[in-house]
Symmetry: D2
Subunit: 151 residues, 4 copies
Amino acid sequence: MDTIGTLRSYTFRVRYAETDQMGIAHHSNYFVWFEAGRSDYCRDLGLPYGEWEKNGVFMPVVEVHCRYKSSLLYDELVTLEVFPTEWRGATMTFSYRLLHADGKLAAEGWTKHAFADARGRLIRHDNDFIVRLKDLMLSDQMTPAAQPAAK
Amino acid sequence: MDTIGTLRSYTFRVRYAETDQMGIAHHSNYFVWFEAGRSDYCRDLGLPYGEWEKNGVFMPVVEVHCRYKSSLLYDELVTLEVFPTEWRGATMTFSYRLLHADGKLAAEGWTKHAFADARGRLIRHDNDFIVRLKDLMLSDQMTPAAQPAAK
Amino acid sequence: MDTIGTLRSYTFRVRYAETDQMGIAHHSNYFVWFEAGRSDYCRDLGLPYGEWEKNGVFMPVVEVHCRYKSSLLYDELVTLEVFPTEWRGATMTFSYRLLHADGKLAAEGWTKHAFADARGRLIRHDNDFIVRLKDLMLSDQMTPAAQPAAK
Amino acid sequence: MDTIGTLRSYTFRVRYAETDQMGIAHHSNYFVWFEAGRSDYCRDLGLPYGEWEKNGVFMPVVEVHCRYKSSLLYDELVTLEVFPTEWRGATMTFSYRLLHADGKLAAEGWTKHAFADARGRLIRHDNDFIVRLKDLMLSDQMTPAAQPAAK
């Protein structure tokens, strides 16, 4: 899917606890990494997710998908690319790519989110905070200095 | 997707450690539960997954999907339905439904697997163990006594 | 440590996701299992922990310890013994033993808890709910039928 | 406990998936963080743990302890201090402190390890690799530039 905002990249190492007895990172952890990338993304955008919740805006996950191409190993340095790919009414989608240190694709996936209040009720898409967030995300243009290296 | 073998049901409770600060089960755990269901399924089929690995047959995950319909809460009693839905060459797909105690759908998903050896190389679909497994799974007919209650 | 209430036993299987590349259950999961055992214990006592929180009583962990004697493996059937061993002011301690199917000790540990309100402030030990809980836990005598098998 | 080698510091952020419905980081994750710190420590020492395993030297956990002083919250920037505190025969102990951004102590703990081969059998303390590791760890003196800021 094509990004509708800026693509941001983050790096991390696979933890030992994240491996399984097949000797590779367990597939459930990819969604934990995607989420950590969303956190970094929103913080870098200037709207840390922690502030959303303080404003009564929660972003529960409504659908996820991941395709695993090449196993990730313990202590491997991984690059995670995060980019928004869809904004439709009161839902939005983040997409992700995980790359080995040599740039080879390890996995790709997406997570679709709804905007909800603390009780889980959907929030209207014309809510002030949502409008501000959408404007910020779709108009987001990183300065050249902040651009991740081309891949 | 339609099942191509028997549907089996298992129950479990949501652990406290599986919740997050939104007060619901974190979405990454659903894949851990799906996997636990696969383990139970294969054991009940008479071919525990641990034996597969001893025979040099591994079943890495190549693609996953999940749709979240209704949050699962701490200590809630959940029913997990597991059923094979596709067998194509050297890959197969398990599908899942998670139900609240009142039978309401909480989530549904699927995981696609390849058959590989200990080094991660794909195994031919005419491998003896794979053939035996496929025959067993597709011809699997539980006795009435073992059938889960109708839903 | 000696129990000051009833010892209760629960069984579970080690999940694949709980293993690591050493081929054994990762040590951090033992505390997740201990916690699941506390949940079962409190539910069986007639005071599910979910109700505590609804009464504004939380039980954060203040100290933990575990000694690992013998590795636990994927799909292994494990017995978890849970028993309270100390009640001092507004803190209490649960102790645990994990046993292989043949009764051999796999690990033993304890977790110490404080009673706190939703904001994390300590609750006085003469709080009504705490007094009721303490009375219930220390006077707890399971009927013979409910006693776990001797080990 | 007093360190017998160099103290190294690492920083990380608490992941959303690591929180629980009490709104704080779940206590089991502290051991995952300790382990990630050990990985960083050994890599910085010049002997990445991945190489140990390739040399047939495994370091299973035999005992752990942690005292929780002050809760860690989602997205909080945490400093982890790692330092070896004991080396006795074929076992060794790492100690840890977790600090809030303002330097306040959040938790402290230790993990005791044995040296074992791939089958879990204890390795003699005069094994070449162990001797080399011990020499390296106990003589480890970081250059001033590499010293973490004083706390």
